[in-house]
């Protein structure tokens, strides 16, 4: 699976304003709603589900990266977005670092394979230090998109 298979281009955000976990997740879910990937009426419920998942353990995976995710019956295919917070967000990560880079995923309840393949892709690409650094430094959604396209075309890592 590639980034282009699940990242909604219109929902990519740089310069996230949020300083804490709930507002960061809200901002990213709003970006999916504005991009038309989810219904505005499902916004609150999706945020609630994402925060419920965080309660089970932070989705931070180290290196200043988190992958908040949930299943939700309102989506019929995996949708995701990418967000960058220049100042970083407190995210209860194990290493204590603030999170600067977010990949948020919402998947249909009956498609665990797609979720797993998205995680596989994200984690494989993020093993490349340069790719991580460039994403965190990105100032515009266009820059993020270009990095994701490059990654899909194997400009980074493997």
């Amino acid at each position: 699976m590639k980034f282009s298979d699940f990242v909604s281009v219109k929902a990519i955000r740089t310069g996230l304003a949020a300083k804490d976990k709930p507002s960061a997740i809200s901002e990213l879910v709003d970006s999916l709603a504005e991009a038309g990937e989810i219904q505005s009426s499902d916004r609150d419920d999706i945020i609630k589900a994402l925060l419920k998942r965080e309660d089970l353990g932070s989705t931070s995976i180290g290196r200043g990266i988190a992958v908040p995710h949930t299943k939700h019956p309102s989506v019929d295919r995996l949708v995701g977005t990418v967000g960058v917070s220049p100042q970083g967000v407190e995210f209860d990560s194990l290493d204590g670092d603030k999170v600067q880079l977010f990949f948020l995923l919402v998947s249909p309840p009956d498609r665990p394979g797609d979720h797993l393949r998205a995680l596989e892709n994200i984690s494989r690409q993020l093993r490349d230090d340069a790719f991580c650094r460039y994403l965190k430094q990105a100032k515009t959604a266009e820059e993020i998109l270009q990095l994701l396209v490059d990654a899909d075309n194997s400009q980074f890592g493997h």
């Binding site: 393949r117 596989e120 984690s123």
Partner: protein
């Protein structure tokens, strides 16, 4: 990369006996494990494996079709993309390798203690 580690293990042999290097004298334990939860090896099971692996001193690896990752790396584990039914080789090298294989193997055998309710919001 593995060859380098192997060499490093020997270089450090005199000074540090608990280096992770694959020294021939170190005990090795291994077994085949199978992903038994319907959601596959996603983030929460990976997190459980990392936390379990941290309790041991030995080096612990998981291998899927030739791809070998460190069981202490959540990024590494997620790159396996191991779905339900996948068989993996679990291998540990070091003095507490037997105990490590038992504990991590138990997590696989017990399907990471996940309930298989597909409508559960959290995954």
């Amino acid at each position: 990369m593995r060859a380098t580690r192997y060499l490093r293990g020997h270089v450090l042999e005199l000074g540090s006996s608990n280096d992770v290097g694959a020294m021939m004298s170190e005990p090795i334990s291994q077994r085949v494990v199978t992903v038994r939860n319907s959601q596959g090896l996603h983030m929460r099971p990976a997190d459980l494996l990392v936390k379990a692996a941290m309790k041991f001193r030995c080096r612990i690896e998981l291998e899927k079709e030739g791809q070998i990752v460190d069981a202490r790396s959540i990024l590494g584990l997620l790159t396996l993309g191991a779905q339900f039914g996948t068989s993996l080789k679990l291998k540990a090298v070091g003095e507490d390798s037997k105990e490590a294989i038992e504990m991590l193997g138990d997590l696989f055998d017990n399907a990471f203690y996940e309930t298989d309710n597909p409508t559960e919001a959290a995954i």
